[in-house]
């Protein structure tokens, strides 16, 4: 418990410092000025969400190979974290685009890909809600998760070929790209901070899912026993206790 409180305090301090650094330490951007500071939240959120979706894919593959329910729990935990970060990216993006590009939204390659990505993983979570049998839920949602992940490069390439408005990659881009060193450091700090928030959330969500799984199994066992003893009176009773 103490370690948990200390960890939370540490992460909170990190987040506050990252926020301060993004707003006050990072140098002013030459053409976009203050609004460019949304970048320190926008890009880290995107990096985290993409990492989380990759974790979902790996967990799905691992589940199908090993059939251990732990992987399924990791999949759903990572998908929820990914969707949350993706939502942050989708909200901060238009806030930045409106003053800079003059529009809230444009159908450019990266925006469209992110939006489709968000839709795909929301469908993944929805699918899980609508499948009742735990083992079937794990298997079928893993199949869907793999299909969804395979679709991501296709969405990106198709939109890239089609139309794009985002700047050429500034971070880790080709020639002529690059950040001011201070900006780079602040960005790194913000990436660490958002991972610092998201990884504990993911771990807690994972633990919750494991407990839920255990509870489900116990409930099934109890039902099996009661229906055995009551089978003469009410065959196959019970449904959906919340």
């Amino acid at each position: 418990m103490k370690a948990r409180i200390a960890g939370t305090a540490l992460i909170a301090a990190l987040v506050v410092f990252a926020g301060y650094a993004a707003l006050y330490i990072a140098p002013d951007e030459r053409t976009m000025h203050e609004i460019q500071r949304v970048f320190y939240f926008h890009l880290p959120a995107w990096i985290t969400s993409f990492t989380a979706f990759t974790v979902v894919f790996l967990a799905n593959v691992a589940y199908l190979l090993t059939r251990r329910p732990q992987w399924d729990s990791l999949g759903v935990a990572a998908a929820e974290v990914g969707v949350a970060c993706c939502t942050i990216g989708l909200i901060t993006g238009p806030l930045w685009a409106r003053p800079v590009w003059g529009v809230w939204w444009t159908w450019d390659a990266r925006l469209t890909t992110t939006f489709i990505l968000w839709l795909l993983y929301v469908s993944y979570l929805l699918l899980r809600d609508l499948l009742e049998d735990p083992e079937r839920r794990a298997t079928l949602s893993a199949v869907f998760g793999i299909f969804a992940y395979l679709d991501v490069p296709l969405v990106y390439v198709s939109n890239r070929l089609w139309r794009t408005q985002h700047p050429q990659p500034v971070v880790l881009g080709g020639q002529g790209s690059g950040l001011d060193p201070t900006m780079g450091k602040v960005l790194g700090l913000c990436v660490v901070a958002i991972f610092g928030v998201m990884i504990p959330i993911l771990m807690d969500r994972y633990r919750l899912e494991r407990l839920r799984h255990e509870l489900d199994e116990l409930r099934l066992e109890v039902e099996a026993r009661t229906s055995d003893s009551n089978s003469a009176v009410t065959p196959g009773s019970r449904k959906d206790t919340p």
Binding site: L64, T112, I116, L119, L120, S123, L126, L127, L130, L131, E132, D133, R136, T139, L140, A142, V143, F144, I146, F147, A148, L150, D151, L154, V155, V157, S158, N159, L161, W162
Partner: protein, 224 residues
């Protein structure tokens, strides 16, 4: 029994089942026609605009029709638990999936054969001279819809709200296919019709990626 032979037998079974009632085909064709007609009310396009928006309209209609028609593919098997019988048959699971994919491909293609000429007449789009290339684009696009759609039909068959769930799962995945199919079709309806090779290759790539994934994952998809 080889996979191909088993798939062929299952295909005949699907076709016989459908052509006894033609429920699926009739409803799908009518539904797609309604979409095509409503489009005209919503946008009131000039002939120039028809050519510009036509390919998009056509593929949206196919995508919606596909997402409706693919649900019964596995949904039908549930009424009498006939999927268990299929599973017990001494054939590979991929053969079951392949048989259904081929059947769905034939159904959706038949719907398209009715729809494309009607579309050409209603929107005054000339297809003369590009029929062969258009058929190629239609085949590649339809394959992509039925490959992913059949797999997702098996995924959603066990869920609650399954009829609503299938379009939700399917349509976002098909976004790149829609772009490629529309662009390829538009290149054929332009003043100088010329099949766009990039998009045609992209469509073929889409089909190959998801067919391979279905082949790899079909055992998980159909297990009890």
């Amino acid at each position: 029994m080889t996979t191909a032979r088993a798939a062929a037998i299952l295909l005949t079974k699907e076709l016989r089942l459908e052509f006894r009632t033609r429920e699926l085909l009739n409803t799908t064709v009518i539904f797609a026609l309604v979409v095509v007609v409503l489009f005209s009310f919503a946008f009131n396009p000039t002939p120039e605009e028809s050519r510009r928006y036509g390919p998009g309209l056509l593929w949206i209609a196919f995508l919606f029709a596909g997402s409706l028609m693919l649900h019964p593919s596995f949904g039908r098997e549930q009424a009498n638990n006939t999927l268990d019988a299929l599973r017990m048959a001494p054939v590979s699971t991929f053969a079951i999936l392949l048989g259904k994919m081929l059947a769905n491909f034939i159904f959706l293609s038949l719907a398209e054969v009715v729809l494309v000429p009607v579309f050409a007449v209603l929107y005054n789009v000339s297809l003369a001279g590009v029929v062969g290339r258009l058929i190629l684009v239609l085949i590649l696009g339809t394959l992509g819809i039925v490959i992913t759609g059949t797999v997702f039909s098996a995924v959603s068959a066990h869920a609650r709200m399954r009829e609503l769930l299938l379009p939700l799962l399917l349509l976002p995945i098909l976004a790149p296919l829609l772009i490629a199919a529309v662009e390829a079709t538009a290149s054929l309806l332009a003043d100088q019709p010329d099949l766009d090779r990039t998009w045609t290759t992209f469509l073929a790539g889409f089909d190959i990626v998801f067919l391979t994934a279905s082949w790899l994952l079909c055992d998980f998809l159909l297990e009890e």
